[in-house]
Symmetry: none
Subunit: 248 residues, 2 copies
């Protein structure tokens, strides 16, 4: 496989997910932005007024990206099989997700996608408010786009353009050593979190001063930050299986 083919495969392992997009024109503009930077995998979660002639017009010659786009009803569905989920945010957040700028995120993407069959999803929220905290809970990394601290109101297609450009530049210049260890996929991680939450219920860990929602968010953030390998998730679940409920 020559270098150029290798690059193309790497680009194909990056999926852009647009959640609750309200303006079909932005979907078309996003498709055009993506194709210009060699990205082709697009998923739309609950797009409003789509498909639409406006979207197709704004896509210009990138209507193939639109016609190949997947349409889902939930973000969870869109994330199936992903090995790393990155959420785009206009601003830094109070609750501390693992945060990085676009360059840092592209570095992570490069690491994951350099291994065959590993995929990364980058999620962009709705025009007015971006991603909700619940949507960000499904993300391991929060990607912020640097910009004017006094006015930051990037159009969603512009944000995708910036990301896609940076990803293109990053991918076509940087080489990384390949890790031989396989990263756990989104659904494997979700399975672990479900299992963990059940076990914590059984051992009566949650209580008023340790509310389940808050603690699970913190644990997700913690485990997500480590970008667990498949084998590590298997080890953690092996531990969980050995934990039995209290015998009162």
């Amino acid at each position: 496989m020559n270098k150029e083919e290798n690059y193309t495969h790497t680009f194909d392992r990056v999926r852009v997910v647009m959640v609750n997009t309200t303006e079909p024109g932005n979907i078309g503009a996003a498709a055009r932005a993506m194709k210009n930077m060699n990205l082709s995998q697009l998923t739309l979660v609950n797009p409003q007024g789509y498909p639409s002639a406006v979207a197709t017009a704004r896509a210009s010659g990138a209507d193939d990206v639109l016609s190949n786009a997947l349409v889902c009803e939930s973000l969870e569905e869109a994330l199936q099989g992903a090995h790393l989920v990155i959420g785009a945010s206009a601003r830094q957040r109070n609750i501390k997700w693992k945060q990085m700028d676009v360059v840092g995120a592209c570095n992570e993407i490069q690491k994951i996608t350099s291994v065959e069959n590993q995929t990364v999803v980058v999620v962009f929220g709705t025009e007015k408010y971006g991603l909700t905290n619940e949507e960000l809970d499904l993300c391991q990394i929060l990607m912020t786009i640097p910009g004017n601290p006094d006015y930051f109101s990037l159009n969603v297609a512009s944000a995708i353009q910036v990301f896609a450009y940076q990803n293109y530049v990053y991918n076509t210049t940087t080489q990384f050593e390949q890790s031989s260890n396989k990263i756990a996929s989104f659904d494997e991680l979700e399975g672990f979190y479900t299992h963990l939450s059940q076990v914590l219920e059984h051992i009566e860990y949650f209580e008023d001063k340790r509310p389940k929602a808050l603690l699970m968010r913190r644990l997700r953030r913690f485990f997500g930050r480590a970008e667990p390998e498949k084998e590590e998730v298997a080890i953690l679940r092996g531990i969980l299986r050995n934990i039995k409920p209290f015998q009162k």
Copy 2:
């Protein structure tokens, strides 16, 4: 002058010039793209159908950039006083201008604008054809935007967005809010590993095919990678305290 003021002055020394723009919406989108990346100086050469409600709508909160924009009848007029003129081009050209990619161009911009009163102009051509050779003759540097060799058809506002982003990043380094949460110290982590190992003994997790030394090494590597905060170690130890040995 503090660092932040210095940055602002540097940004103010960069002017974007749009030549013969045919879609007013693109002018609005360009203003928004610029303001998001701290640029404010815009000149329009022979804009068609401008001013326009469409432009103002697409500018979103960046209508101040529009209302301060200069309108000229010729590119020569727009370039008066510039210390460096850079022309944006979707493709490399046959006739050999001094060519560089966006990062290289931003490096030149930085060099020029770091000197007081020196200004740089970056020129973007009309939607369909970009800059003519005659217009490029007025430029010292031809800036190409990297992208898909098989489909390169950046919208002009998207091209300005990419340039403005790269210029912003080049001019500043991103500061992330420091997490107020303290990272766990070496001894706190060691205390956690000892505790974890004891609990795993108690629940009879280790066995011949799950040797303690190997498993503990893998768990250390896993937890260490997440760079746990003090609070997170406290949460994990809280969980461990709730796990009781098997009742046989």
